[in-house]
């Protein structure tokens, strides 16, 4: 150590060469260390004054501006005095003007600016622009005896009148006032500034931003524009600039809120550094009307502070929660509103806790108590709170939903809910407080539906219909319940009432027609054909002419009517109706197939159906073709939904599957393949086998076909092959999305995105519940699947459901799919 010190001392004593001094002086100047540069240049001047004086002047000048930027006016003044000793006064005009403005001595600043600008013409230097700023700023205080050159006088007047016009919201006048000013003028920065603020106040943010950015930096308008530019930016800048109290308070001034300028910047700072309680307290102590529900910023801030807890992370949440808790417990009427808000926030924050059912109820009841104290009793509020709680408790238990079905607590009564009993109690309380609350009635009904309490569903429905006879939804639901119970005529009555309320509702129309068909069949079986015909005639009135829908299409209604006539032995009437059906239908093969199958299901004697059977036989005996295959697939997709004990239907399916496999060998279009795959994936194990073959074939031809890859994904999901690998599933979905976007399939891509979101949610839920890993689920050494495993377990109902949902959405590639899904099961 001692040696080093000696060495340093020796070094210090060594005289430094002029060259080295100059180099380090330049380096300090470049690095913005003006004070050090000034010292070195001073030393250099002693050796060679003329050579190093410009360096000394420059370093002093820069130091002067730096000190003023830091608002150290006195220090800057000292530097200026020393500058005046080493340079000509005229060269220091800009500095003198700036100092005068910093000292708020505007008339002096203007006087010097006028003197400096005498005889000057464009183009102007950077420092001369500052002189122009002084003239604008000091215009009011200017000594009128000082003669101002006429062009300058005109321009300053224009700027002043333009600023006055902006203040009066006369933006067009403001702009026209500054229009004659040239861009090379001394006041060009002011022109851009006025253009910018006019655009800003008229919400033309893009134009405002452009104008502000064109202002020459360092000028007064540039400094003034900074706050506007910050407003136009995304709020992200606050993360780094929240300590700049001046800037934030400028923004408050521009927002026209002088009161906030004095406290919001500090509140922001406190909030950002995690002192949330202090932030709130700071505003409360500085603002008379905070918290408040009166219109304005204070109301927005109130909402923010009381809602913030719902977005908070664990750490600050605890402290803020305690703070709100204290607010909720405080006494005195003066703080009633604050108490109420805090109580509401606490209740809302409890709702995110999955294990706090009772506490949530208690918190909301505390809120109602506080509400009663502050505003008096309000039954509507009480009803709304209890209905809200009912909704909360009747939500599906996510934790239970994530557990595979064989481990779950779900019982035969339906979905596992958060808290069934509390949900029912809360809905009932809500209805006591506000019996006319339609939503609460329906929510209670939904609760009973979810929990499969049929008797309660019917009772509630009857109650709703009595109470709200003009409510379409209740009539519709009641109609459906009657259909389920085979009370067809009663159901028809309800549905007709609902249809009268909204004749354009297509779902209602479908159910109404279904009810007519069901009742018509029953009358035909009893031989009461008049009643049957009346019903079918009513159904036809509500049917769609050209529709290929198996329920609502007129052709298929005529076909059904024909089978009912045959059922009653009316051969001629049936034949007539059949001809009408054939006239109306779009695809003859579909109608023949429909007649043959439905006729048999209804129990129509074979002789009436022979013709249709032989048409089908003929199709199957010919060379397989894509066209008939697509039509048969559409028809059987509908027929398959009918729960039938007839074994011949299964045989028909097998025949169709064989036919589909034969076509595959010949080659099919992508569109037909998609139809067959969708049909297959929703069907039995054999049907799924056909679908898999189609997928494999199509992917062999086009490995990057997004849709086919999606089908493969769904198929694997259906077979439970990827159940243990949610991350892999997500990855596959992302690849599919990329391909879909590349292939320009926008609709399809948006559906894949939805699937991705669901997969992401499922994954995060699994993670949050600490679900077992892949290894924990299956600790055997299964080989990796390249394709489909024929020995895999059968499809799970849930998976099939999700696959169904997905394929239902893809209406573009499967035009008949949409209509098929509306075709409801008549035979349930």
């Amino acid at each position: 150590m001692g040696k080093k010190k000696k060495k340093n001392r020796r070094n210090r004593k060594k005289p430094v060469s002029t060259e080295t001094l100059q180099k380090s002086a330049d380096a300090h100047l470049r690095a913005g260390r003006y004070r050090q540069a000034k010292g070195l240049f001073k030393q250099l001047c002693k050796q060679h004054r003329d050579k190093y004086l410009p360096g000394l002047v420059e370093s002093c000048r820069r130091l002067f501006h730096l000190l003023l930027d830091q608002e150290k006016v006195r220090d800057a003044k000292t530097v200026l005095t020393s500058l005046e000793n080493i340079t000509d006064p005229p060269k220091l005009y800009p500095e003198v003007v700036r100092l005068a403005m910093a000292e708020e001595n505007y008339s002096q600043a203007a006087g010097i600016a006028v003197e400096a600008l005498a005889g000057r013409e464009p183009p102007f230097t950077e420092s001369e622009l500052l002189l122009g700023d002084a003239l604008v700023i000091a215009f009011e205080d200017m000594d009128r005896s000082i003669p101002l050159p006429s062009p300058l006088q005109t321009d300053i007047t224009r700027i002043q009148s333009s600023l006055a016009a902006v203040a009066q919201e006369r933006y067009t006048d403001a702009l026209s006032s500054i229009r004659p000013m040239g861009m090379r003028s001394l006041f060009a920065p002011w022109k851009w500034f006025i253009k910018g603020i006019c655009a800003f106040y008229t919400h033309d943010d893009a134009r405002a931003g452009k104008a502000f950015e064109k202002i020459f930096p360092g000028t007064v308008p540039a400094k003034a524009a900074k706050a506007f530019l910050m407003i136009l930016k995304e709020a992200g800048w606050l993360a780094t600039e929240h300590k700049k109290i001046d800037l934030l308070s400028d923004i408050c001034h521009l927002a026209g809120d002088e009161k906030l300028a004095g406290c919001l910047p500090r509140a922001e700072y406190l909030w950002r550094v995690g002192r949330h309680r202090d932030s709130y307290k700071h505003l409360r102590s500085r603002l008379d009307d905070f918290p408040s529900q009166k219109p304005g910023m204070q109301r927005s801030l109130t909402t923010f502070y009381f809602n913030a807890i719902t977005d908070m992370e664990d750490m600050p949440l605890g402290k803020y929660f305690d703070f709100l808790f204290d607010l909720a417990l405080q006494k005195g009427k003066k703080r009633g509103f604050e108490k109420l808000q805090a109580s509401r926030s606490l209740a809302l924050s409890f709702e995110t806790d999955p294990y706090a059912d009772r506490e949530i109820l208690q918190e909301w009841e505390s809120f109602l108590f506080a509400y009663q104290q502050h505003h008096g009793r309000n039954k509507r509020v009480e009803a709304a709170v209890y209905a809200h709680l009912g909704d909360l408790y009747s939500m599906e238990d996510l934790e239970d939903a994530m557990i595979p079905f064989f481990f779950s607590q779900r019982n035969r009564r339906g979905t596992a809910l958060k808290n069934e009993t509390l949900a029912e109690n809360c809905y009932r309380k809500a209805l006591v407080y506000h019996p006319e609350n339609v939503k609460a009635h329906f929510s209670l009904l939904e609760l009973y539906e979810k929990t499969n309490q049929k008797a309660m569903v019917n009772k509630t429905l009857d109650d709703i219909i009595k109470r709200f006879p003009g409510e379409k939804k209740s009539l519709y639901k009641a109609g459906l319940r009657c259909l389920e119970r085979n009370a067809l005529i009663k159901g028809l009555k309800y549905l007709e009432q609902a249809l009268n309320l909204d004749p354009l509702d297509s779902t209602l129309r479908t159910y109404f027609i279904i009810a007519c068909i069901k009742a018509g069949l029953r009358y035909a079986q009893k031989g009461a054909m008049e009643k049957c015909r009346d019903l079918l005639a009513i159904a036809l009135e509500r049917a769609q002419g050209q529709s290929e829908d198996f329920n609502r299409g007129q052709a298929y209604l005529f076909a059904r009517w024909a089978t009912f006539e045959w059922l009653a032995g009316n051969e001629k009437e049936g034949a007539k109706l059949k001809l009408q059906a054939l006239d109306l239908c779009g695809s003859k093969l579909k109608l023949h197939c429909f007649l043959w199958v439905m006729g048999h299901i209804y129990g129509v004697p074979d002789r009436y159906l022979k013709e249709h059977g032989s048409i089908l036989d003929d199709i199957y005996s010919r060379q397989p073709a894509s066209g008939p295959a697509a039509e048969l697939v559409e028809t059987f997709s509908y027929i398959r939904q009918i729960p039938s004990k007839h074994s011949w239907i299964k045989r028909e399916m097998v025949r169709l599957n064989r036919y589909l496999q034969e076509i595959l060998e010949k080659g099919v279009s992508r569109e037909v393949a998609a139809k067959v795959i969708e049909y297959g994936l929703e069907g039995t194990r054999d049907d799924q086998g056909v679908a898999r073959k189609y997928i494999a074939k199509m992917l062999k031809l086009h490995p990057d076909d997004a849709k086919m890859r999606m089908f493969r994904y769904l198929s694997r999901q259906q077979w439970g092959l990827d159940y243990q690998n949610p991350a892999g599933n997500l990855e596959e979905l992302r690849i599919i999305l990329g391909l879909a976007e590349k292939q320009g399939e926008r609709d399809f891509a948006s559906r894949v995105r939805q699937a991705i979101r669901k997969a992401e949610n499922a994954l995060s839920l699994m993670e949050s519940f600490g679900m077992p890993t892949e290894e924990e689920w299956f600790d055997d050494d299964d080989e990796e699947d390249d394709g489909f495993d024929p020995f895999s377990p059968p499809a799970k109902e849930g998976n099939r459901e999700s696959q169904k949902k997905f394929s239902n959405r893809d209406s573009k590639s499967t035009p008949s799919k949409k209509s098929r899904n509306r075709q409801l099961d008549l035979f349930e």
Binding site: E104, Q168, A235, L264, A267, R299, T303, N307, A308, H388
Partner: protein, 100 residues
């Protein structure tokens, strides 16, 4: 942003006041010219359009979508009518900037 502030109505505004504020604002913020503002106004209207909706909002609104108190002020600039500061205040502001 608080939908009441978006529509610039008091908390006890009735259905007609909400509707007229909405109609007034969509005249100013057409969907073609101001899509963002139009969306905000429409959403605010749908949140508050009837008494039940307003009650639901008043009792159960929770998402601020805002990270700090100052963002509340900045958020207000998006939609709230931007009223220019008075001439004198602007002069003071400019002089303050000149001092820096």
């Amino acid at each position: 942003m608080n939908p009441y502030d978006v529509l610039d109505i008091p908390c006890d505004a009735d259905d007609s006041a909400v509707r007229s504020a909405y109609l007034e604002l969509i005249k100013i913020y057409s969907p073609e010219q101001f899509p963002k503002q139009f969306k905000q106004v429409s959403e605010a209207y749908h949140t508050l359009k009837n008494e039940d909706q307003r009650l639901q909002y008043d009792l159960f609104n929770r998402n601020t979508g805002i990270g700090s108190p100052f963002e509340v002020l900045l958020d207000g600039f998006t939609l709230r009518k931007r009223t220019p500061v008075k001439f004198g205040a602007m002069q003071r502001y400019l002089r303050q900037c000149a001092k820096k």
